[in-house]
Subunit: 185 residues, 2 copies
DNA sequence: CGTTGCTGTGCAACGAGGTGCATAGCAGGA
DNA sequence: TCCTGCTATGCACCTCGTTGCACAGCAACG
């Protein structure tokens, strides 16, 4: 399980409540690690009882009170240890690859629409990444010396950009291949 | 759940037993969809009781008897329908991306070794893919007319190759970035 | 003969992850 | 006033996936 570690990273970047973490997992971190608010609340509770994080009740006006979590020393140690641990082979689940191989045994028309949907989604996400890159990393350095946190966030974003570009190119390849078998001949 | 559909595709490409399917999920299909033999046996049982697949007892000499599964008409229909269904956003889990962002808060030395391990693994897999491409798709067409099944398997393999190449390039980027913060400067 | 190892199928138990629902404070609009 | 909607936390339930183990047939080796 690595959801704990993703939460640790997010809380180290900025402390926050379970709700706020859930929002971050819908963007930013969420592009590389998904989680629902249920999972997050459950794991936060366990992490708190394990002493990895601190809780602080924050009264709010105009909205419900919240619990703000921040990383404790043992949590920071756990993260450090995890960084060098070998990750077991990530279980891959590429629906589309399975569908493409399945297209040999069914009508490819539906799959073409599905592939076009995916292509559009990846195009949108690429545009979103590129806009974020210009916004957050466009200027050389906003406050002088190179900042590790910033540089590392940037290299992860570059990975996302490379992934989306690769997927778009592959989907063009898929669509061209499907077209050769969908239109008679 | 889409394991059913991955099994349908595999059985359509070639009927086989649960054990044989488990072996296929360690290579070929397994590069895009992972599954243990436990999952496979359980799902096969359900698919059989749903009428998606046929079972046939195959006595063997020199080894235990087996149950050979093949796709029935309702299974083929289920696959056809699934091809065009919109896939819900695949839940992404990229350990390494989380670790890279976490490196800002811990010792990057361990992560460098971990990234190098991943780079090696992707290099090996790329070599394996390329060897398979030469072996299976090197000659223009082994038996005359273009074959949909063969072409679609090829485009999926090209996707795997593109993915590995992208990952290797990104890991080089990651290692260069980590080096800038690990060695003093 | 016993051991190891591959083929082949399966159960039991556990943890991870997701869906649906409940509760509660408060804001804003119809 | 009621309804919708956002913030904020949480329970109950169910499925998926993994781990560990068991059992069985048979081959090859020492």
């Amino acid at each position: 399980m690595a959801l704990e570690h993703a939460i640790l990273v997010s809380l180290l970047e900025k402390p926050g409540s379970g709700y706020e973490l859930a929002r971050r997992f819908e963007r930013s971190i969420g592009y590389f690690w998904t989680a629902t608010h249920q999972q997050i609340y459950r794991v936060l509770k366990r992490m708190e009882s394990d002493g990895w994080i601190h809780v602080r009740d924050v009264p709010q006006y105009g909205r419900p009170d919240k619990k703000e979590y921040s990383v404790a020393a043992p949590g920071r140690d756990a993260l450090s240890g995890w960084l060098g641990e070998p990750t077991r082979p990530e279980s891959v689940r590429h629906d589309l690859a399975v569908k493409v191989r399945g297209a040999a045994f069914g009508d490819p028309a539906g799959l073409i629409r599905e592939a076009e949907r995916h292509r559009q989604e990846h195009t949108d996400r690429l545009a979103h990444y590129l806009a974020g890159e210009t916004r957050d990393f466009g200027t050389p350095a906003p406050d002088g010396p190179p900042d590790a946190e910033r540089e590392l966030q940037h290299v992860v974003l570059r990975g996302g950009i490379a992934y989306e570009r690769m997927m778009i190119a592959w989907l063009d390849d898929v669509l061209a291949t499907l077209a050769r078998f969908g239109t008679g001949h």
